[in-house]
């Protein structure tokens, strides 16, 4: 059994409400931080913990906090990114729905560390029922003296507001989020300046994912060093994985980043294996934007080593043979799934979600979607595969925000690893409408060249 820090108490009856949460030890970190630590000491603990952003990029949180500009007389903000719209990712929702006070507690401690007196939770519009849960938790926290003016007589004041998005994936990108929060069109900003210098209303701002902020609670309670003892190398602490697709037990799992991918998929503690007795074909380990891997490269790295569920191991081999931890949206595909259709579905998503500001992303995503639709519907040409490869290359790295890359990578990875399946579609236009390519050789052991 791996250690659980975030979801340990998530299923205690009534934990959603203050009394139970407090009885179970909630808000201890606020007492500890506000009464016995300076803001810098809190930041120091977060640095020591090695906590990395859980929103996708995995940037060290403590370091991000220490970049925050602190000019005199200018307010600072903490903005919690609860926009969670990456296909395959639903961990923040789980956390906010079941144990909302953990997030509120994390916000108070983090805001204290950053010197923010106002904090916003920007939540995905489709999570329509969650703002009520959060607002109730905020009200309870306030009624019990954890929010408002002069908290516990320490002189520190904080207000938390919940803001709903209007249904745009792009508003999860931190600068688009800030624009939207300011009431503007959710276009990503051109960086620099970075939010740490000019963020919300041009003031220094830290944007962090829900899970990142929640993880600050155990870090302050137990100390950064304790937290860093969990996990492997630079992948410290626990990570929430939202597992979905063709597995027996889809859901949100907290892992301590020491288990192998194979164990995560096949053990009964986690995904419980592939559903309906099917075989594993492919997997996207970290949300729709990260590269898809065929079964053989998923379970073992190109060097033939076991692949583990942590940042370094998942990205072992770079994009050629590896993937990424991303946001932890673990999507499993069995032998009956069609990679071409799957890639088309993702391309359609990115086409629909591009903000349209920069030409490569605006035009390229639409073009890729159309070509993929053709291939999927038996209307593709061989040259289309190379054309797709070329278009994704023209988008990647050339756009304002990473959505362009996020649209390019899944297409690139699908062609890189599943080219035969694309070619089969082109060569068998009638047959590909009747049946899928199947598992083919995608689970075969990979030949590892022996080097002297």
């Amino acid at each position: 059994m791996g250690r659980k820090l975030l979801l340990e108490k998530a299923h205690v009856e009534g934990i959603r409400y203050y009394d139970v949460y407090r009885r179970e030890g909630g808000y201890r970190s606020v007492e500890k931080a506000l009464k016995s630590m300076t803001p810098d000491e809190v930041t120091e603990e977060v640095k020591k913990s090695g906590l990395r952003g859980r929103g996708g990029a995995g940037f060290p949180t403590g370091m991000k906090w220490s970049f925050l500009a602190k000019p005199e007389g200018v307010p600072r903000y903490l903005v919690v990114n609860a926009d969670e719209s990456e296909p395959g990712t639903f961990k923040d929702r789980y956390l906010m729905e079941f144990i909302p006070h953990l997030l509120i507690e994390g916000i108070i401690v983090s805001s204290y560390a950053l010197g923010a007196n106002t904090s916003y939770i920007y939540i995905r519009g489709e999570y329509a029922w969650i703002p009520d849960i959060l607002e109730q938790a905020i009200a309870e926290a306030r009624n019990n003296g954890w929010l408002g003016k002069n908290i516990m007589g320490t002189g520190y004041s904080l207000e938390i507001y919940v803001q709903r998005g209007a249904g745009a994936y792009i508003c999860g990108e931190e600068t688009a989020l800030l624009e939207s929060l300011e009431g503007k069109r959710g276009n990503p900003r051109i960086k620099p300046p970075f939010p740490a210098v000019k963020g919300l209303y041009d003031c220094p701002t830290v944007v962090n994912n829900v899970e990142t902020i929640a993880a600050v609670v155990p870090i302050v309670n137990d100390g950064g060093e304790e937290y860093a003892k969990i996990g492997v190398g630079r992948s410290t602490g626990t990570k929430l994985m939202s597992a979905c697709g063709n597995i027996r037990k889809p859901g949100v799992y907290e892992i301590d980043m020491t288990i192998s991918v194979e164990e995560f998929i096949f053990s009964d503690e986690y995904c419980g294996g592939i559903a309906n007795g099917k075989r594993l074909k492919a997997c996207i380990p970290g949300g729709s934007s990260v590269p898809i891997l065929p079964a053989n490269l998923l379970l073992k790295t190109a060097k033939g080593e076991t692949r583990y569920m942590h940042y370094e191991s998942l990205s072992d081999g770079g994009f050629a043979t590896g993937s990424m931890m991303g946001s932890g949206g673990f999507i499993v595909l069995d032998e009956d799934q069609c990679i071409v259709k799957h890639t088309y579905t993702l391309a359609r998503f990115y086409r629909h979600e591009s903000c349209g500001q920069c030409s490569p992303c605006r035009e390229g995503t639409g073009w890729m979607e159309k070509i993929l639709w053709n291939i999927d519907n038996g209307k593709g040409k061989m040259s289309d595969i190379d054309l797709l490869w070329d278009i994704q290359g023209k988008i990647e790295g050339n756009t304002i925000c990473p959505l362009g890359d996020a649209a390019a990578w899944p297409v690139a990875a699908a062609i890189r690893h599943f080219r035969d399946e694309f070619e089969w579609h082109v060569k068998n236009p009638a047959e590909c409408m009747q049946r899928n390519y199947g598992l083919a050789h995608y689970a075969d052991p990979i030949h590892v060249p022996v080097t002297a």
Binding site: H352, G356, R362, K394
Partner: protein
């Protein structure tokens, strides 16, 4: 620090620029091929740039202090120069590839209706595709279309031609005082529109026509009246209480076909000599003063970059050498056919070679 000049080398040419200068501005100082094309950046508009990605360049050395190259290509219009920075524009294959890619992507949904577009001849997308694009397209799908929006009596919107540079949005925000149009929707279905059908008619809104790099926003009062290359650009001014009153008149014969602000060689509106600010002009000057007598004409406009319009009309023009003798091996050209003998068109037989200036309809209206 601020008055110290920074050294930047672009394609092996070094210039010194004040701090805060962008790579694009430094490259414009050098001029020529080195200068990246810029479809969305517009110097007078705050916040513009960064969107079209045509101006991408490679920074092969970050600065003297931190010589590391930048991993990605950067938008030169939004990246400021550091001392000792080294930049590659046309000397980088990566840049050329990316640029050609952007041009191709900008064109896949463009209607290519230049023959019926009023912007043809002064369109930056035409220049861009000619200079940086490839012949032919690999796009085999239907091009995007939009529901038509009417923007009122002055401005014609052709959304299919729009490249979403946002210049007109910034202009409406920063120049016209009140913005009633903007970008609706997102991605490849984003469009310029007013949310509820509204007229764009506040006093300075005409400037959106001048900043639009393509034929998406054109002057309704000039619509289909003439091709720009048949008209002659002249600088002129009038006393105007609302704006600087310094304009370019686009004339043919004595007729003023169109009035625009004065633009520099990068297509940007020049600084007014009178006010020292950007020479935005008001709707009155642009749309309601179409008689030559309304204006004090100063002389030929001195732009030379856009050669299609430039032919025969700009100062400092180099005329191509006559080649007809060479082609004919020294023989004199001779008349093959007299048009009068086969056509009714030129009645009442005006001797074309004796006409001074362009042949306008007035010439032919002469009673026999």
């Amino acid at each position: 620090m601020s008055d110290q000049l920074l050294k930047v080398t672009i394609d092996n040419i070094t210039v010194e620029v004040p701090a805060g200068t962008t790579i694009l501005q430094a490259a414009r100082q050098i001029g020529g091929d080195v200068t990246p094309p810029a479809m969305c950046f517009y110097t007078p508009l705050k916040g513009s740039g960064g969107k079209c990605r045509t101006c991408l360049v490679e920074v092969s050395k970050g600065s003297e202090k931190d010589p590391r190259p930048m991993p990605k290509l950067v938008a030169s219009c939004r990246t400021t120069v550091m001392d000792g920075m080294e930049v590659k524009s046309v000397t980088s294959q990566r840049v050329l590839d990316a640029r050609a890619g952007v041009v191709e992507l900008l064109l896949i949904n463009h209607p290519l209706d230049c023959p019926v577009c009023d912007q043809a001849g002064e369109c930056h997308l035409q220049d861009l595709s000619y200079e940086h694009g490839k012949a032919g397209t690999r796009y085999e799908f239907q091009r995007r279309t939009f529901k038509k929006h009417d923007l009122g009596e002055y401005i014609q919107l052709h959304m299919t031609r729009c490249i979403l540079c946002y210049r007109c949005v910034f202009t409406a925000d920063q120049v016209s005082g009140k913005r009633v149009h903007g970008v609706l929707d997102r991605g490849d279905h984003a469009e310029i529109a007013t949310y509820i059908e509204k007229n764009l008619n506040n006093e300075f809104i005409g400037n959106v026509i001048d900043v639009c790099p393509v034929g998406a926003l054109t002057d309704k009062t000039f619509r289909f009246k003439n091709r720009v290359w048949f008209t002659k650009p002249l600088y002129a001014h009038r006393d105007c209480s609302k704006c600087c009153g310094e304009v370019t008149l686009w004339m043919r014969g004595d007729e003023v076909f169109r009035v625009t602000a004065r633009k520099d060689e990068w297509g940007e509106i020049k600084t007014s000599a009178k006010t020292g600010d950007t020479g935005w002009i008001c709707n009155d000057c642009r749309f309601h003063n179409k008689n030559a007598s309304d204006w004090q004409i100063e002389g030929l406009a001195d732009i030379s970059r856009h050669s299609v319009i430039g032919q025969g009309k700009y100062k400092g023009l180099k005329k191509p050498a006559e080649t007809i003798e060479k082609v004919l091996d020294g023989r004199q050209p001779r008349l093959l056919m007299d048009i009068h003998s086969v056509s009714e068109v030129n009645k009442p037989e005006i001797e074309l070679s004796t006409i001074q200036g362009p042949a306008t309809s007035a010439v032919f209206k002469k009673k026999p």
